[in-house]
């Protein structure tokens, strides 16, 4: 009986999938690409970072300019991520729960930062707030500095990370529809109660995922920030900009030491993301198993 079943499953497997050589070829191509374009460079970053020993590595990271760059990068992310969460939730809520004119336009607009080059994004802010920009003279008269200062860097970061949370949440919320919120309403819950107790928990995985991606991009952003930063060492340099400066000054070990921090961040992000997916998957499987085990009285 058992052998028969195995044979049957083999036959069906062959019937519904591609030839073995083709499968191996496709998997092989994917693996070679991953190795050549991701793993080897990642390995090289770390090798180069430690090429002159751990002391140089640590010195590069504890350099005051480097520490300031790290702090600035963290600041930009710390502002951009919460703003993104608020905006993402509001936009996804509006798009998925309400009927209104111009919804499609709004969805397209949310994607705009993905569509334009980050350099353009930076230039927009220079044109707006720069000394020769629209608001530049007024800002200058009032002693406010945006371009070549921290606020500009934060603005540029917010701009480029704009779509992440909304993009993750919109499909999740659209799929869930409004019946859960309606159910909460008929049970007497107010708007905030519905949001905190019904809507937010039901999108928490999508939200976390969006936050992780948003954070990774906020810390890694180069183009837009580069335009508005002015590259003032110890003042307006973020970590990616700092890496570039070091590299241009032939301080390869230091450059790669800082780069390795960013690489570590990327790796940590990926691990956090897989851990989330794994946990989410396991929760689902556990409840499905329990459902299968359970019997009607």
């Amino acid at each position: 009986m058992a052998t028969l079943e195995i044979n049957v499953s083999r036959v069906t497997e062959r019937a519904v999938s591609e030839a073995p050589w083709l499968r191996r070829l496709l998997v092989g191509i994917a693996l070679v690409f991953l190795l050549a374009f991701l793993l080897v460079p990642l390995f090289l970053v770390f090798r180069e970072a430690f090429s002159q020993g751990a002391r140089v590595y640590l010195a590069a990271l504890s350099n005051p300019d480097a520490r300031h760059a790290i702090k600035l990068t963290l600041t930009a992310a710390a502002v951009a991520v919460p703003l993104n969460v608020i905006f993402g939730l509001a936009a996804a809520w509006a798009i998925s729960k309400f009927r209104f004119r111009g919804k499609q336009v709004m969805i397209t607009l949310i994607d705009l930062p993905f569509a334009v080059s980050p350099v353009i994004a930076g230039l927009i802010y220079v044109l707006l707030f720069g000394s020769r920009g629209w608001l530049g003279p007024w800002l200058e008269n009032n002693g406010l500095h945006i371009i070549y200062a921290v606020p500009g860097i934060v603005l540029a970061t917010v701009f480029v990370t704009f779509p992440f949370v909304a993009r993750e949440l919109i499909p999740v919320m659209q799929e869930q529809g409004v019946t859960h919120e309606e159910a909460a309403l008929t049970l007497g819950a107010g708007g905030w109660q519905t949001f905190w107790r019904v809507t937010l928990p039901s999108v928490k995985w999508g939200l976390l995922y969006g936050v992780i991606l948003c954070n990774a991009r906020a810390m890694g952003e180069f183009g837009a920030v580069s335009v508005v930063s002015g590259h003032i060492r110890g003042k307006t340099n973020t970590l990616p900009l700092h890496v570039e400066i070091l590299y241009n000054e032939y301080e390869f070990a230091a450059a790669f030491a800082c780069a390795s921090l960013l690489a570590l961040l990327a790796v940590a992000t990926l691990i956090a993301k897989s851990a989330l997916e794994y946990k989410h998957q396991r929760d689902r499987e556990r409840s499905l198993r329990a459902a299968a085990r359970q019997e009607e009285p």
Binding site: T186, G188, G190, P297
Partner: protein, 349 residues
């Protein structure tokens, strides 16, 4: 508590979902809103609940105008078609939700909430599932939990949207009988939407038949089945032979089948449409006063024989249903028979 709706109309773009609907639901009654999909029955239910607003007209709860009352304040329990249970909460938390979101001064304490939730879970016979998540329940169990959750807030009326729509036939039948018993126990005014005539006729005290946003007929299940008020109701509730013919002098004639039509007393014939239930047709193998025909097919369905009879060349086949208690079929394919309607209903046109 009684519900009354007056002159409700609602459009969705070019689609007229409700067209001047006025109805009264008496206190303690279980009423079915019955109609084909897209007829506006769910829209009507949602307007009563306050989840949707009518373009014109009023909703009165216990005689008071509630048209502008927010759904939170209407005191309705709503059971959604796909249950809408909160997936991240246990069964207990789902049922407790309505109590735990109350403002602090109206909220029962934790022990009280737990007692009430367990009492409700006992009522729906699922007390042993309190710690499960909705994902882990069968369809019938989810349905009952959704009902318990709606009842937790002690609603003045209970509204159910296709309560058995997503269940398989067997579970559906059990739950139907159970809902009826539960209603007899609780006596809360209940309105449920269904497209299943059997469900409506079996469970409800009264049935409202809706078609294309208009009320076709309101009545007890017997009234609806025995004397349908409109051609639509005749066609929608139960099976009926639909025949075209002519009427004059109090009688309608359909290819030789004669049905009394007292409202057509005029002398010159007028075109009419007749509806005759399959079990209202008498078949005789020999003689008789009916119209002559020939048996086309015979099939046994449960305790009934379904016989198709052709009367004349131009007439459609006549569907006849006879009670059958086993043994020989009294009619065979190809046999010559006489058919005579015992009852029927004639409408102009």
């Amino acid at each position: 508590m009684s519900i009354e709706v007056r002159d409700l109309s609602k459009r969705f773009g070019a689609f007229q979902a409700l067209d001047d609907v006025s109805l009264t639901f008496n206190s303690g009654e279980l009423v079915a809103l019955l109609g084909p999909s897209g007829c506006g029955k769910t829209t009507l239910l949602r307007i009563i609940a306050g989840l949707e607003y009518a373009d014109t007209g009023a909703v009165l709860l216990a005689g008071e105008d509630a048209t502008a009352t927010h759904v939170r304040e209407r005191g309705v329990g709503f059971v959604f078609q796909h249950y809408a249970l909160f997936r991240h909460m246990t069964v207990f938390d789902n049922v407790a939700f309505g109590l735990s979101v109350r403002p602090r001064r109206l909220r029962p304490d934790k022990g009280d909430i737990a007692r009430r939730v367990h009492r409700l879970l006992e009522l729906v016979q699922l007390d042993w599932l309190a710690d499960r998540y909705p994902d882990q329940l069968s369809g019938g169990q989810r349905q009952r939990i959704a009902l318990a959750r709606a009842l937790a807030v002690e609603p003045r009326v209970l509204l159910l949207d296709e309560p058995f729509g997503a269940l398989d036939a067997r579970v559906r039948k059990d739950l139907r009988a159970w809902l009826r018993r539960l209603h007899d126990e609780l006596h809360v005014t209940s309105v449920f939407v269904t497209h299943d005539q059997e469900e409506a006729l079996e469970v409800a005290d009264r049935v409202v038949v809706i078609n294309q946003g208009r009320v076709e007929q309101v009545g007890t299940p017997q009234e609806i089945y025995n004397s349908p008020a409109t051609p639509f109701v005749y066609g929608f509730i139960g099976d009926a032979n639909r025949l075209s013919g002519q009427a004059a002098a109090g009688w309608a004639d359909f290819h030789g089948l004669r049905v009394a039509a007292p409202e057509f007393g005029q002398s010159e014939p007028r075109p009419v449409t007749g509806y005759i239930r399959p079990h209202d047709i008498e078949l005789k193998s020999e003689g008789g006063t009916g119209v002559a025909g020939r048996v086309e097919s015979v099939a046994q369905v449960g305790a009934a024989l379904r016989i198709s009879v052709r009367v004349g060349e131009s007439a459609p086949s006549l569907q006849v249903e006879l009670p059958h208690h086993g043994g020989h079929w009294p009619f065979a394919v190809g046999q010559a028979v006489h058919a005579r309607p015992r009852a029927g209903r004639v409408f102009a046109g």
